[in-house]
């Protein structure tokens, strides 16, 4: 069989399995849906801002949390249930298995974000200035955050709660650093510098450009950085998973 076709089928199968099995797991629903929703409500309540001003923050939080919530659950859970060994005895390369986990997170994050975009358009009359800019913000952002979720799950444990806790220790500070709740321009100098090391910063800046036609960073630079973060985090996830694999078996 053509190797490309074989790998495509394997990748699609792993992604499908993750979607079918893990999207409805309580930790994924709690940290991927409810948590960003209520976090956003806490931020927006009584603020007096219009839907168009709030949309980039809401989209940014949703994309960040939903995209990175699937990955932390999969590998520890599959270690515990021994389904990881089943995957490892299949002829699929290990990196493909991790990529399938990332794709599941990517689809989850993207689908929920597009749902919000659609709902915002039909119910609140908020429409993106440019579909292209919207996609350039959402696509690499979703992939990047899904890879981040997978990177967390390289922690060699069979307890998803441990990985979820670690992921929240990292994700929550990033929310406050990345221009979601406070525009980058209003952040103190030190924090503004730190914000450059958060992948969420670039996604939110591109979303600001999409909905408010304003951006703190150069859009091309923001897109480039978003893509670079995606590749770096994905490479990190693959490397760390390979290293931690032997300790989890």
């Amino acid at each position: 069989m053509n190797k490309l076709l074989l790998r495509s089928r394997q990748l699609a199968a792993v992604t499908w399995k993750n979607v079918r099995v893990y999207y409805t797991e309580p930790p994924v629903l709690i940290f991927g849906l409810f948590f960003p929703f209520f976090l956003f409500l806490a931020f927006a309540f009584g603020r007096g801002s219009g839907p168009a001003e709030l949309m980039p923050a809401f989209l940014g939080i949703t994309l960040f949390f939903t995209g990175s919530s699937v990955g932390p659950f999969i590998t520890p859970w599959e270690t515990r249930t021994r389904t990881l060994e089943r995957l490892l005895t299949s002829p699929a390369p290990f990196s493909l298995l991790i990529l399938g986990d990332v794709l599941a997170g990517f689809i989850f994050g993207l689908a929920l974000s597009l749902l919000i975009v659609t709902g915002g358009f039909f119910f609140l009359g908020v429409q993106p200035g440019s579909i292209l800019t919207l996609l350039l913000a959402l696509l690499p952002g979703s992939f990047c955050f899904a890879a981040l979720g997978s990177l967390f799950s390289a922690l060699p444990t069979d307890k998803p709660a441990n990985v979820m806790m670690l992921s929240n220790i990292v994700r929550l500070p990033l929310i406050f650093l990345s221009g979601v709740f406070m525009p980058l321009a209003d952040l103190p100098g030190g924090l503004r510098f730190l914000a450059l090391f958060s992948p969420l910063t670039y996604t939110v800046d591109l979303l600001d450009l999409t909905y408010s036609n304003t951006s703190y960073l150069n859009p091309s630079m923001a897109l480039l950085m978003s893509c670079l973060f995606t590749l770096t985090i994905l490479a990190g996830a693959l490397t760390w998973h390979k290293r931690s694999l032997l300790t989890r078996l």
Partner: protein, 322 residues
Amino acid sequence: MNSEQAIEVTDLKKYYDDFPAVNGISFSVERGDFFGFLGPNGAGKTTTVRVLTGILPPTAGEARVMGYDIEKSAPAAKEQLGVVPETVNTYPDLTPRENLWFSGRMYGMDSAKIEQRSSDLLQEFGLGDVEDVKTKEFSKGMRQRVALCGALLHEPQLLFLDEPTSGLDVQSARLIRTIISELNETGVTIYLMTHNIEEANRLCDRVAVINNGRIAAIDSPENLRADIQSTRSVEVVFAEAEDSPVPVDDLKGLPEVEKVEGTGKKFRIFSGSLDPLIKALSDYAAKHEREIVSLNTLDPSLEDAFVRLTGDSTAVRKGTDE
């Protein structure tokens, strides 16, 4: 790739830090063999199979599966084999049909072929009526059957089975034994890891016994038993005595006795020479006014060979599911 051997292992070593889980083993399994792999807990069975199935890399040595080096040509080797682990590893939130679809796609099968094979296998394994029920609703025996269907879906030439009947109900265990025997008759090589000596004795053409990370013996069950033929035994049952049971030390003191197992009224006495032992037992019973209810001479079993080779009488259990 053509090779007469389904498995060729040469000086294979697998260390966990400094601990040698597998310490330089070499053996081969011919295509079409029904091969048993026995050993006490911690002997290195699971580690060996994890290396042979490409889950773990070896520390040193070489393992070839269906002619492919499992380390250098892992995907090609893995396409040829199916694996059923002891811990059932189906996805509980998927139905049998979905579990099989996933397995089939991982081996690159097209949908029509998966559908056809799935239907055939689920029927054969008695799961046709529950093919659309999530496997988390199933008993262990049913989930094990789903796992076996998944391992067979892509028609592997070599099947690894790790305690496939452990903890199963009688019907499931029998069905699985029957099906793997039939598979073997069609030319599929079976590699069976088991604690169940009786199962290995009944099914396997050849058996390897691993102990402390090394192969202690490898031969047919008959030859392994014959190797310890010099040690035969007598099973003797004394009548119930009101005052006291028969002291084991009395029996150990009889001529030609090598070992005594049992307490109370039933004993198994091992000896290199049975005739003097039987006479001594008869004399002992007469002298102590004990009645012998039954006395049988026993040939060595594969279990005896296993215990002799591993020195671990606690590691074996006889088949209890029938």
